[in-house]
């Protein structure tokens, strides 16, 4: 994926080129491109004088970052203890079954990335599933398919609007 060097540069200068802001800079890049492109990381390394190997260490250490492009929609299933006790794993299995991918992977058509998170702090409404920032409370196995359908329909709608 082509990245705009200027854009990456702006993320670095936003934090006054300070080495301590590495994580924040990576978060900005992740938010912009939905993953951390190799060229962006190499540029950050050269520009800030941080060895590439250290940047990769940080980029792979924290869960927020992905070195692979993420799908259009990010499905995050909460596997916190409260959600686990309320049946979270079965919800995850259902997503894995319907999307034919394991957690941590993206569907072949690039539509959905399935991730898990240790806890979102919404234990009262568990099991919780977040899709593109929308929180779905008290998910059941049966709701999984309709949740996915909702986002697939959004895609179709967007495509239709574009065609028109």
């Amino acid at each position: 994926m082509a990245i705009e060097i200027q854009k990456v540069k702006s993320f670095i200068t936003r934090y006054n080129n300070e080495k301590k802001a590495l994580i924040s800079i990576l978060q900005d890049i992740q938010a912009e491109y939905n993953y951390l492109p190799q060229e962006a990381l190499k540029f950050v390394s050269e520009s800030m004088g941080i060895p590439l190997i250290d940047i990769i260490d940080v980029a792979t250490f924290y869960r927020a970052f992905s070195l692979e492009p993420r799908g259009k929609h990010l499905v995050t299933v909460c596997l916190g203890t409260a959600c686990h006790v309320r049946g979270g794993p079965k919800i995850l299995e259902e997503f894995e079954r319907i999307l034919s991918i394991n957690a941590g992977k993206t569907t072949k058509d690039g539509e959905f990335t399935l991730e898990t998170v240790a806890c979102l702090g919404c234990c009262a409404i568990g099991p919780v599933v977040v899709v593109d920032g929308d929180y779905h409370a008290q998910t059941t196995i049966r709701k999984v398919n309709s949740i996915l359908k909702k986002y697939r329909r959004k895609e179709k709608k967007n495509e239709e609007c574009q065609d028109n």
Partner: protein
């Protein structure tokens, strides 16, 4: 100068020294693996554990990183230390059963069984190669990646590193690579009971940063990738 006690012996240490450095100076033996005098201490292998403190609130710390403090009470071979040490060796054996260094440690400290599934990963993530590359060779071609049980050592993006100068320092310092059994005909053969005849990378790589490629041996630092690709191609 500070005064502390190791195994009931009163010893003196300079400010900034670690317990291990003091112990070595006095000739007291503490086993180590990820420690190397020429490199910064890491404290990852947990072999150099010693028990500090007195009474009910003692704890185990890695002597290679713990500072020698005034009045510290240290014991190097208590029951707790020995049991922890044995478990560490057992865990290492289950990862790198072919390493003579680890086998020697096992026989020295009486570890006679491995109760875990042997993984044959060779790498115990002691980090000596990373520190060697960064500190002694100024290369920074390899480093740690990921965390927890997925932690590994590799080059950026798992491909040939532009920084690697093929110096071989990583191979030199690696305890799993040292004295690896190379079969009955090799000069440095140890024994022929644990032959590892499977060159890991020959089939899958054209370009390797490792100079061992031609010799057809080792591939520790890129093994994981080869395994993944193998698994992918077999699907």
């Amino acid at each position: 100068m500070v005064t502390l006690k190791i195994n009931n012996l009163e010893v003196k240490a300079e400010e900034g020294q670690t317990i291990l450095e003091v112990a070595k100076f006095y000739g007291l033996e503490i086993p180590t693996l990820c420690y190397n005098e020429g490199l910064s201490p890491y404290g990852g292998c947990r072999l150099c554990l010693v028990e500090i403190g007195e009474g009910p609130k003692t704890k185990l710390v890695s002597s290679c990183t713990y500072p020698a403090e005034e009045g510290l009470v240290v014991h190097t071979d208590t029951k707790r230390v020995i049991e922890a040490r044995r478990m560490m060796i057992e865990l290492m054996l289950s990862l790198a059963p072919n390493s003579k260094v680890i086998q020697d440690l096992a026989s020295k400290f009486g570890v006679k069984q491995v109760r875990f599934k042997v993984r044959n990963e060779e790498c115990i993530l002691c980090g000596l190669c990373v520190r060697m590359c960064a500190e002694q060779m100024d290369g920074r071609a390899i480093g740690f990646q990921k965390r927890g049980y997925k932690r590994k050592i590799s080059t950026p993006f798992d491909i040939r590193s532009e920084e690697c100068r093929l110096c071989g320092g990583c191979i030199y310092i690696c305890p799993a690579c040292q004295l690896r059994c190379q079969g009955p005909d090799a000069d440095t053969a140890v024994c022929n009971a644990c032959l590892n005849m499977d060159p890991t990378c020959l089939d899958y790589y054209d370009e390797l940063q490792c100079w061992m490629y031609d010799a057809g041996r080792c591939g520790t630092c890129v093994r994981e990738k080869a395994e993944e690709e193998k698994a992918e191609s077999m699907k």
